[in-house]
Amino acid sequence: MTSLDHAAAHSQARKGRLLATPAGLYIVLFFIVPLLIILAYSFATRTATGRTELSGWNLESYDKLFTGLVMRTVWRSFWMAAVTTVMCLIVAYPFAYYLATRAAKVRNVLLVLVMIPFWTNGLIRIFAIRFMLGSDGPISQASESLGFGEFRILFTPTAVVLGMLYSFLTFMILPLYVAIERMDWKLVEAARDLYADGFTAFRKVTLPLTKSGIIAGSILVFVPSFGSYVVPEILGGAKTLLLGSYIARQFGQARNFPFGAALSVVLIVAMLIAVVINQRTEASEL
């Protein structure tokens, strides 16, 4: 390298750092700082009146995590997020496959159709679902007029899973679509050439080769489902208490900020673990 090259590389690097500064600032301001605040609160003290004192740091809030109610809530949230993820996968895979195998023109139209509900306010969509599932909604009315009686599903865990399925389906479709779309179809042909029937070729080649999409989509669905707040609030009723609502309650009625913060830390750690898993699998694919 000549000294001129050196200078060029140097100025290039400086330019890179300069360009990255706003992004770095953004991350610090909107992610790191709030995280640190939450972390600090989780060690703070709650006074008898419900005020939070940022002194007398202690682990009390973390102790409270190991009570039955919390464990049950976390477990229920985990379980429902898992069901939602699996259902999303089952619904999204055939669709993403269909999407990825269409001609470019059809594909773009379908992609836009996938994105449109995604651009609509999530709250409105959940209220729409609530109406659909409600006792005077179209499904219930149809079932009543057919003589099956009233359709009771609203305010059940099933309704919550359906709501989350609908809310987060796009997060599953898109990574799956990308993975299937960039797969080398020659490999499927090779499998067929080597005496695999259509389904076996799918199982032995397509599925393993789209693993990255399956994992990415699952994490993108699982993480917001695990901490979801709006959907269970609107569709779940009182019986299905989930982690998201429970945390919100600590900052609301219960006025126990430190405990709410500790619960949030749990949630964040769970998500970090998911992200790390994702990156591990991605790295091992290379």
């Binding site: 080398d184 020659k186 490999l187 042909e189 090779a190 499998a191 067929r192 050439d193 080597l194 005496y195 695999a196 029937d197 259509g198 076996t200 032995k204 080649v205 393993p208 080769l209």
Partner: protein, 353 residues
């Protein structure tokens, strides 16, 4: 018995005719090459034999059995894909075992057969490597072993050496050739490299724009091309217009010449094809024995190629390009020098368009 037989096979994509009414019979054990420029329909033809595409019209048989709409997994053929298409999530052994396992061969038996096939392409040391840990040449061998381990009736190869560098390509050419005679399987080999086709094949089918123009052994393809396209596509060649009179005598400019075949009756002009290396040059008016064609000419240009000289010779029928080996005693001619151009009648072919 024919290993592969195509009868009036046509393949259309929408309105585009990719393969146009091809008749072809490939015999058992033959090394058959499909040769032609990019886009002429070679891959499409191969894909129809493999079962990835179905003919729009015509009949296709493998081993004497019409295969019609059988899916690829029901056909006794295997393919070596252009970019190998090795399964990236499986190691070498698993790749090679795949076809056997799909055919329900017991696992340990499949493993033994796969190991043997891997030995035969000299990759026994790399059994556990993933494809992306192999060089291009090694991937190529895995692809071969993966196909051959199934002992198909027909092995289809789509430009299998296209991605390799020249030296490796030449090495693989001779390896493929000896592999072919060892296993006795019919090879259908697609290439756009004429040299590859000439050196390896028992017979060559030359394609252009979906049509099969000529099917012959390499010697006949090179020395007696039937069509202008075939002559032009393979090697260097002089294509010159000659005239034909009512008695069928062919003239090149003012000179009467004899050709490998009689001129088609009723034609007034013909295209004469003449390879540069089949033409001889001598000093003016030197007598040449035998029934050689001889016409006078003048050296217009000489180009040095190391192993040979190339001359452009002006004759009354047009400019002829001539190649002469660079041997110590060969006369070297200078521009402006009058010469006699001569060749055997068999070397001048009359072409259809």
């Amino acid at each position: 018995m024919a290993a592969v037989e195509l009868e009036a096979v046509t393949k259309r994509f929408d309105n585009f005719v990719a393969v146009d009414n091809i008749d072809l019979e490939i015999s058992d054990g033959e090394f058959f090459s499909l040769l032609g420029p990019s886009g002429c329909g070679k891959t499409t033809t191969l894909r129809m034999i493999a079962g990835f595409e179905f003919p729009t019209a015509g009949r296709l048989s493998i081993g004497g059995r019409e295969i019609g709409l059988d899916p690829p997994n029901k056909r006794p053929v295997n393919t070596v894909f252009q970019n190998y298409a090795l399964f990236p999530h499986m190691n070498v052994l698993e790749n090679v075992m795949f076809g056997l396992l799909m055919q329900k061969v017991p696992k340990d038996q499949a493993r033994d057969a796969a190991a043997k096939a891997i030995n035969s392409v000299k990759l026994e040391a790399l059994l556990n490597r993933k494809p992306n840990q192999l060089s291009g040449g090694q991937q190529q061998r895995v692809a071969l072993a993966r196909a051959l381990v199934n002992e198909p009736k027909v092995l289809l190869l789509d430009e299998p050496l296209g991605a390799l560098d020249l030296k490796l390509r030449q090495e693989m050419q001779s390896e493929l050739k000896s592999l072919h005679s060892e296993v006795g399987i019919t090879f259908v080999y697609v290439t756009h490299d004429q040299e590859e086709a000439l050196t390896m094949s028992d017979r060559i089918g030359v394609m252009s724009e979906g049509k099969l123009l000529q099917v012959d052994d390499p010697t006949r393809i090179y020395e007696h091309p039937a069509k202008r396209f075939v002559a032009d596509f393979i090697g260097e060649i002089n294509l010159i217009e000659g005239s034909v009179d009512s008695s069928g005598t062919v003239r090149l400019g003012d000179e009467v010449i004899a050709c490998a075949s009689p001129a088609p009756s009723g034609s007034q002009s013909v295209t004469i094809a003449l390879r540069p290396e089949s033409i001889d040059l001598t000093v003016e008016n030197e007598r040449i024995g035998g029934a050689m064609n001889q016409i006078p000419g003048i050296v217009a240009r000489r180009t040095y190629f190391g192993d040979s000289h190339s001359y452009d010779i002006e004759t009354s029928g047009g400019t002829l390009s001539i190649r002469r080996d660079n041997r110590p005693l060969n006369t070297i001619f200078d521009p402006g020098q009058p010469v006699t151009v001569s060749w055997h009648p068999d070397a001048s072919n009359l072409l259809e368009d």
